[in-house]
């Protein structure tokens, strides 16, 4: 049963990645990204990491992809034609990316990765909550500030772009 789900998720992720790699239409790539992100959310569920799965669906599949789509629709060169992306240095790019991918796969396969057996942990989200408020208090407050800077920056640039 679980292997069927795994294969299903793998297909979902790979289909998304495949479309992103080979389409030249940026909007299609954004929707395909959504598929990939949902597949990864499924993987998180399989490894019992429920919070991450929810984050993946809400933030990435729900938010980032919409933002990407808006970004594409905002671009200037859109009037009357599709947004197509070009590609340069094709062969060097292919060789480097395949090389890096193969190298990392090999490394991870031979390395003693710290693995823990996947167990259902009922208190997982509560534990994350406690550690946010105690161990990672600086990170917790810093995240809010980073988000504030991103918001103010984007709004300010957009306002000045709109005024001109």
């Amino acid at each position: 049963m679980i292997i069927t789900v795994q294969i299903f998720l793998l297909m979902m992720v790979l289909a998304g990645v495949g479309i992103i790699l080979f389409t030249r239409n940026i909007v299609h790539a954004a929707y395909a990204l959504c598929l990939t992100l949902l597949g990864i959310a499924g993987v998180y569920v399989l490894v019992m990491s429920e919070l991450l799965a929810v984050v993946q669906i809400m933030l990435y599949a729900g938010g980032v992809v919409i933002l990407l789509a808006f970004g594409v629709m905002m671009t200037n060169r859109l009037r009357g034609e599709k947004v197509l992306s070009g590609s340069n240095n094709k062969w060097i790019g292919r060789i480097i990316s395949v090389g890096v991918f193969a190298g990392l796969c090999y490394l991870i396969s031979i390395s003693p990765f710290q693995t823990t057996s996947v167990e259902k942990n009922e208190d997982q989200i509560a534990q994350i909550g406690v550690s946010f408020l105690t161990d990672h208090i600086v990170a917790f407050e810093l995240i809010a500030f980073v988000l504030l800077v991103a918001l103010v920056g984007a709004a300010y640039l957009a306002k000045n772009a709109a005024d001109e």
């Binding site: 990392l104 490394l107 991870i108 031979i110 390395s111 003693p112 990765f113 710290q114 105690t134 161990d135 990672h136 208090i137 600086v138 990170a139 407050e141 810093l142 995240i143 500030f145 980073v146 504030l148 800077v149 991103a150 103010v152 920056g153 300010y156 640039l157 000045n160 001109e164």
Partner: protein, 476 residues
């Protein structure tokens, strides 16, 4: 651990982050005040925030791991913190119109917060978040001229930075996956014995090197430094770079690699590459600011080995070099800004300025200090650097240090030829259309004062070391 003890521990440790909290609150206050006022009021608030943060930083007596290991405080973090805050206060000397002032000081304060946290970071989470905070602010400040070229530089910087940050995040993931700890202080010589964590470490270095502008992650520097407003450039070329260097020093202090480890050699090799790239790149520039930015890249290369050698000499020379570098870069960009306001942008344009002898002489002296010639503090900084490298060579028996030393000396001599193109344009040109540029008296006095400080630090370098001791012990 007992929850109540942990909470009380956090309350006791909060003292260590008061300065950052003050800066964060100050940034928000600037933003809120900016809705009602602009100009003077904002600048005054900015200065008050800096002074207050300085006070909090000085009175903080905590050292070591705090807040469950999120941050690590040391002599360096407290003294460099003061250096950054003072550097930020010098930004008020630059001429800045009211139009973009609120957001400008907001982003400067947020960059400052990020830099202070970056050099104190002990947890991988904080490393990533603080580098992102600094980067976000830098991307936006690059575009603060709101011209097409500034936008282009900003978007290039953003794309380059996004890729570096993604690579670093992947590296952090690999390190966490193979060590299952977030804390840098828990690393030891065993941590990186396998190949996978070593690769993760290299990927982490990509993100840090991007901030220090070590080759090949230096490509964003020339366009960014050229197009950003001069005050933002001065700040960006000093504070995030030094903060990342302190972080790097802290990481290597853990003795995680022996001096003949391949990562060690790789970092040294990249440092040499940086010096070569910066020096060679500067020769071909016709724009004054672009030339200085390549010089700044070379300076990153000079500073890098000081983080790798663990000795008192290395720490002292890092501190001395940083202080002098901060002063030199601040005044260089200040003078570049003054000239640019008079329409003098390219190196050849400086031929027109031969009538303003006084400021020309001061500018030449500053550039001589950037080269590293006596009788200015830049020379002493280089001298300390060469001593440290020689010590590193004889102590660690690492022949690469010797190569580093040789390249550094050659690059120092080479830099003479490009830095002195501006003085040559000012004094040795036969240009006919001389026009005296209008500089007010305060500019001249200010530049002269900086120059005197650089002279003073040459004759009494121990002042800088004593200042470090003093700043570190104020809280007692």
């Amino acid at each position: 651990m007992n929850l109540i003890d942990q909470l009380n521990g956090i309350l006791a440790d909060l003292q260590g982050v008061w300065a950052e909290s003050a800066l964060m609150l100050g940034a928000i206050a600037v933003l809120v005040l900016g809705l009602a006022r602009s100009g003077r009021a904002i600048k005054a608030l900015f200065l008050i925030v800096l002074i207050f943060a300085c006070y909090l930083n000085l009175t903080n007596g905590l050292r070591g791991d705090i807040l469950s290991g999120s941050l690590f405080l040391s002599v360096h973090t407290s003294t460099f913190g003061i250096l950054f805050l003072i550097t930020a206060s010098f930004l008020l000397l630059f001429k800045r119109g009211d139009k973009h002032s609120t957001e400008f000081y907001f982003f400067i304060l947020s960059m400052l917060t990020g830099s202070l946290l970056m050099m104190k970071a002990n947890s991988l989470l904080i490393i990533y978040l603080s580098i992102e905070l600094v980067s976000f602010s830098s991307y936006i400040l690059t575009n603060f001229s709101f011209k097409k070229k500034g936008f282009e530089a900003s978007i290039k910087y953003l794309l380059f930075g996004a890729i570096c940050s993604a690579i670093m995040l992947f590296g952090l993931g690999i390190i966490y996956g193979s060590t299952s700890t977030f804390l840098v202080s828990e690393w030891n010589s065993e941590t990186f014995s396998a190949l996978l964590p070593q690769v993760g470490f290299i990927l982490l270095l990509v993100g840090i090197f991007f901030k220090i502008s070590i080759a090949p992650a230096h490509l964003w520097v020339p366009a960014t430094y050229q197009e950003a407003p001069a005050d933002a450039t001065a700040f960006m070329s000093i504070v995030p770079k030094l903060a990342a260097l302190v972080l790097l020093k802290r990481i290597f202090e853990g003795q995680i690699f022996t001096s003949n480890h391949w990562i060690y050699s790789l970092v040294l090799g990249l440092g040499i590459l940086t010096i070569v790239a910066g020096t060679l790149g500067a020769f071909r520039q016709s724009n004054a600011r672009r030339m200085i930015s390549f010089g700044a890249i070379a300076h990153s290369g000079f500073l890098l080995p000081l983080t790798l050698i663990q000795s008192t000499t290395a720490s002292e020379s890092l501190w001395y070099y940083s202080v002098v570098y901060a002063i030199m870069n601040m005044v260089t960009f200040y003078l570049l800004d003054v000239h640019e306001r008079n329409g003098i942008v390219e190196i050849d344009d400086y031929k027109q300025t031969s009538r303003s002898v006084w400021i020309g002489a001061i500018f030449s002296l500053i550039l001589v200090s950037l080269v590293g010639l006596p009788p200015l503090a830049g020379f002493t900084a280089k001298l300390f650097l060469f001593t440290t490298l020689w010590e590193g060579y004889s102590l660690l028996e690492n022949s690469q240090m010797l190569w580093y030393l040789i390249v550094a000396v050659i690059a120092t001599v080479g830099s003479l030829f490009f830095y002195l193109r501006i003085p040559r344009a000012i004094f040795l040109s036969q240009s006919t259309d001389n026009q005296s540029i209008n500089l007010n008296l305060s500019t001249k006095i200010l530049a002269t004062l900086f120059c005197i400080v650089l002279l003073l630090l040459f004759f009494a370098p121990q002042l800088v070391m004593e200042a470090q001791q003093l700043l570190n012990n104020v809280h007692e």
